[in-house]
Amino acid sequence: MVSGAIALAFLPLLLTLIIRYRYYFVLFYRAVLVRIWKDCVTGLSREERAYQYVLTHSIPGDPDSILDAFDYWCNKVEYISNIGPKKGKILDRILMEQSPLTVLELGAHCGYSTVRIARALPLGARLYSIEMDQTNAAIAEKILRLAGFDDDTVELIVNPSDEVIPRLRSDYNLERVDFVFMDHWKKCYLPDLQMLEECGLLGKGSVILADNVLFPGAPKFLRYIRKSGLYEWKIHRAMLEYSKGIRDGMAELVFQGIK
């Protein structure tokens, strides 16, 4: 039988682990435990709860107030991995600099980033937003309508991204995408990027912004862009949305084509 003294000697290790990874524990608590608890209590999905909150706490037709309501809810009430206010600023800045006319968003989730992109777009620009999940897409649509964006500005496509991308050219008459925002499954970053390349949707100067490349992280994607040489790229380092101590980053790629 292991004596108590030996067990006590493990106390420093335990303390170290708790202190060092406290942010991860907090995240686990907020994103998983609270979610399960609330799901059981309310019988609604997390996205529906978020929508209810936003509906009651924002001004319809005002994208800013909708985003603020989202941020508040994700910060204080529950956790949804939107792009968040801090990384959102980077996104806004890049959009302002580029003022793209054709924007593709992979992974709309519940519409936070869609609203964020749509409000920064120039006149006449069009945003194609792809969402796989039916219920999420419904909520995203409601949010978009709440924010006052119509079908001309935002086209919401409810299908997995790997099915939609090859058909973009034929079904939606897209010649070239100026800006791509990736925030769906981290595993799909690389195949989707390669698919975009194959379809020839990327032209010289097309910008691709991929969120959460460090946490949860898309190592294969990063390895690929390092190797491929088709892109000029940099990583904007920031913290994970609605969390203080977990480091994350957004990869900004500028398509250069084959030199």
Binding site: A5, T16, R20
Partner: protein
């Protein structure tokens, strides 16, 4: 015919080399003559033009020589392609030069030579011996080829070389030499430098040809030999570097992980060297003589396994605990006999044992202090505060990094360092946050102190408990309970530093400062653990000595009874011979101490290796292979790969060494064990670092930390010699084991030697010298000298600072003076 010529050529290769050099010389002379006539600016252009001219001259000469063979060949070849032509011209040129040199040579011979030369160029690739010459010729020819066509019509007069021109050539060569030497420091654009560097070829070509008359050959030989010698020296240097053990490994690690990790391995290597010498001393002067010349195993009781233990003496568990046969061998103190001299060499075993014990410690002190002094010289005196940003700007790159990832890290760390420094600068002007930082630092220290106190109490508790277990008898307890002390000490030594590391993030120090704090804290922890262990050991020694008294009494009783028994039967008969295994004996506390240290070292080593395998290797494997099927990025995110823990490893090494120093007197096998351990850990850790660790996030240079390690080593050396010396001086040795048995104190062996092995006057002198009246003034003098030296060094340092201030003042004054006219103008 041509092939024969070829062979001849190969045979006379060496001769030809000289000849060629001479030829070069003649070329050069002519070139100088040309240079006189025409002034040209560029060296390479000069060369080329000169070579054109040569070609022309050769043609003229050819006509004059009117050699039939040569003419024929020329005709043949003129029909051929351009390359053949160029080859021919080169040959012809050489030929002509040769002729010039040797006026007495026959025309036929000259023809032969041309043939040879021609063939040489044509078959340059085939010939192995002449490859060098061939290629050189080729390049020259190519150059000539270019210029041949447009300069064919020009006429060149043949010139003779005057000593005057020779002189000029020499000057030119010297000039170019100087130029090349100072080229690196010249503020020229790179292009110009490269162009100038081309004149090196010129030097190489013509240097050998200098010198006069008969001395020329010798000179050329000399030049060749100096070049060879230089090359040899360079190779030798390379060889020497290759001979430094593990140098390449360490360099590789340095390039991947930065110099702070490498400094650990360099320290490890240094430690290995020291331990090799300690091992050499103990092995060569203590263990081997005793094993070869001392009494063999089983001859006396101390060299025999007692009867009670005989059955289990060869069991692995017993041997692993260094009991049984291992205990009764040269590995431990108790095995050595107290014969004054052993073997046919009359080797003074006890004296040697004592002197080696003292000598190892003395040598260690000497080496550590010498290294510290040397390091102190190397680390220049500079105040880091005055040019903070300049230092960061110009010195923060680690040029030893050779790995892109580390370079990325370093780049990021420099950027953040700048950001932080700027923030710090801003904050230091605001200084409202300083209180928070101070509070956090105090808090961190408080937490660390709590942690230390807790671990100290835990060890104390465990030691007390183990004493209780020992009284009960270990057999009644489980393995866990028996090994509780070692386990708890190892675990605390492993986990507490991690906790300190976490706590130290509160303090927000620069990593270098943080590392030193971390080292200091771990030092305190380890020291506490070690001294708790020693105190426990001291208690045990006292217990053993009590036991010894009883045993001693019992033995006299036993002997008396034995004698009485025999005496009663037969008064005159010799005493019965008893097998040495049956003789009762004392507990021999020295061997016990040695065993404890050996066990501690073994368990420490095992813990280190197991931690390495589990904490680093297993984790790396899991992270690497689970990453394919995990929901987040394991490599970049949560568990990640481990970083190399410099501070913990350094301290582990230092404390390990401390234990060696402490225990080596009672267990001569300790240095050997340590050498083994260091050797293994060198390979194991090199491998582990390269295969399972990632570069630290904040790569920093460890230029100043080496002396910090050394200082800690010195402290540990002092602290570990204290208990050893205390036991040697105060506790009388066991009566029936070890080289000092029967003596009142261990150091009595010195007095004994002085009395019996040295002449009387020597011991007299020694007794005078050791008189307190002489020793005390001597010590006083030393203290005074140290004080004097210290104060002078301090005053020098102050003078340095003063001078620096003056320099800054002067700079400011200069600035004012320079700015003055403009400001005055502005006023006007």
């Amino acid at each position: 015919m041509s092939f024969i010529g070829d062979e001849q050529f190969e045979g006379g290769n060496k001769e030809k080399r000289h000849r060629e050099k001479r030829r070069d010389g003649s070329k050069d002379r002519r070139k100088r003559a040309n240079a006189k006539r025409r002034e040209r600016s560029r060296a390479d252009r000069e060369n080329e033009e000169f070579e054109e001219r040569l070609v022309k001259r050769e043609k003229g000469r050819r006509g004059r020589v009117k050699n039939d063979q040569e003419a024929k060949k020329r005709e043949q070849e003129e029909g051929a392609g351009a390359q053949v032509k160029s080859g021919k011209t080169a040959k012809v040129k050489k030929n002509i030069k040769n002729e010039k040199r040797r006026m007495s040579e026959k025309a036929g011979e000259a023809g032969e030579r041309t043939e040879k030369g021609k063939k040489r160029v044509e078959s340059a690739k085939k010939e192995t011996a002449t490859v060098k010459h061939g290629t050189r010729d080729k390049t020259r020819e190519e150059r000539k080829k270019k210029h041949k066509e447009n300069s064919e019509d020009k006429e060149v007069k043949p010139e003779s070389l005057s000593p005057d021109e020779l002189e000029k050539l020499k000057e030119a060569v010297d000039e170019k030499k100087k130029l090349i030497q100072s080229l690196r420091g010249k503020p020229w654009p790179m292009k110009k430098k490269l162009v100038t560097l081309e004149s090196q070829q010129f030097l190489e070509k013509y240097e050998g040809a200098l010198g006069k008359g008969k001395g020329r050959k010798l000179y050329a030989y000399k030049v060749m030999m100096t070049k060879k010698w230089m090359k040899f020296q360079r190779d030798f240097e390379n060889f020497k570097t290759a001979c430094i053990p593990w140098e390449m490994k360490i360099k590789e690690i340095e390039s991947h992980f930065g110099s702070s990790v490498a400094s650990y391995f360099i320290f490890l290597r240094w430690m290995y060297g020291i331990n090799m010498i300690l091992f050499g001393l103990t092995f060569g002067l203590v263990m081997v003589p005793e094993a070869l010349m001392g009494r063999p195993y089983g001859s006396i009781p101390r060299k025999t396994v007692p009867r009670a233990e005989e059955a289990s003496a060869m069991d692995f568990a017993v041997l692993w605990d260094f009991g049984g046969y291992a205990q009764y061998s040269v590995l431990f103190y108790g095995f050595y006999s107290n014969q004054r001299a052993i073997g046919w060499l009359k080797f003074r075993m006890p004296l040697s044992y004592f002197l080696v014990g003292v000598g190892t410690v003395a040598y260690s002190y000497m080496v550590v202090i010498r290294t510290m002094a040397r390091n102190a010289n190397e680390s220049g005196v500079g105040d880091d505060n005055s040019f903070n940003f300049s230092w960061k700007m110009f010195t923060s790159w680690d040029y030893l990094i050779g790995n892109p990832e580390t370079a990325d890290n370093k780049f990021a760390s420099i950027t953040t360092c700048f950001k932080e420094a700027i923030l710090e600068e801003q904050e230091s002007r605001k200084d409202d946050n300083i209180h928070l930082t101070r509070f956090l630092r105090v808090l961190a220290n408080f937490l660390v102190l709590c942690c230390l106190a807790g671990s100290g109490y835990l060890i104390y508790f465990v030691v007390r408990r183990s004493q209780k277990f020992a009284l009960d008898g270990f057999e009644n307890h489980t393995w866990w309970e028996r090994n509780e002390v070692n386990m708890v000490m190892s675990l605390l030594g492993m986990f507490c530093p991690m906790l300190f590391d976490v706590i130290s993030t509160l303090e927000n120090y620069h990593p270098r400062v943080a590392l030193q704090w971390q080292l200091g804290r771990i030092f305190a922890l380890f020291l506490g653990n070690l001294y708790t262990f020693i105190i426990a050991l001291m208690d045990e020694i006292n217990v053993k000595r009590e036991e010894e008294k009883i045993v001693k009494f019992n033995i006299t009783m036993w002997e008396a009874s034995l004698y009485n028994g025999t005496v009663s039967e037969n008064f005159t008969a010799s005493p019965i011979t008893i097998h040495p295994a049956d003789v009762p004996r004392g507990p021999c506390w020295e061997t016990m101490v040695g065993q404890e240290f050996v066990r501690l070292i073994i368990s420490d080593t095992m813990t280190t290796y197991i931690t390495l395998l589990i904490g680093d290797f297993l984790r790396a494997v899991l992270v690497r292979f689970l990453n394919h099927c995990w929901c987040w990025d394991l490599e970049a995110g949560f568990p990640s790969y481990s970083e190399f823990d410099v501070s913990g490893n350094v301290l582990g090494l230092i404390f390990n060494q401390g234990m060696i120093w402490m225990g080596a007197f009672y267990a001569p096998c300790l240095p050997a064990l340590n050498v083994l351990r260091l050797h293994v850990s060198m390979y194991l850790q090199c491998w582990a670092v390269m295969c399972c660790n990632v570069p630290q996030e904040r790569v920093f240079k460890a230029s100043g930390s080496n002396n910090f390690y050394m200082a800690m080593l010195l402290v540990i050396l002092f602290l570990s010699t204290l208990p050893a010396i205390y036991t040697i001086v105060t506790i009388p040795p066991s009566f029936d084991c070890g080289p000092f048995s029967g003596k009142n104190r261990m150091f009595d062996v010195i007095r004994e030697t002085l009395e019996s092995d040295f002449p009387a006057w020597f011991s007299k002198v020694f007794s005078y010298a050791s008189n307190p009246g002489l020793v005390l003034p001597f010590i006083l003098l030393m203290v005074l000298a140290i004080y004097y030296l210290q104060s002078t060094s301090k005053s020098y340092k102050e003078a340095n600072v003063e001078l620096k201030k003056k320099l800054q003042m002067v700079i400011q004054i200069m600035k004012i003076i320079l700015l003055l006219p403009t400001t005055v103008n502005n006023w006007r």
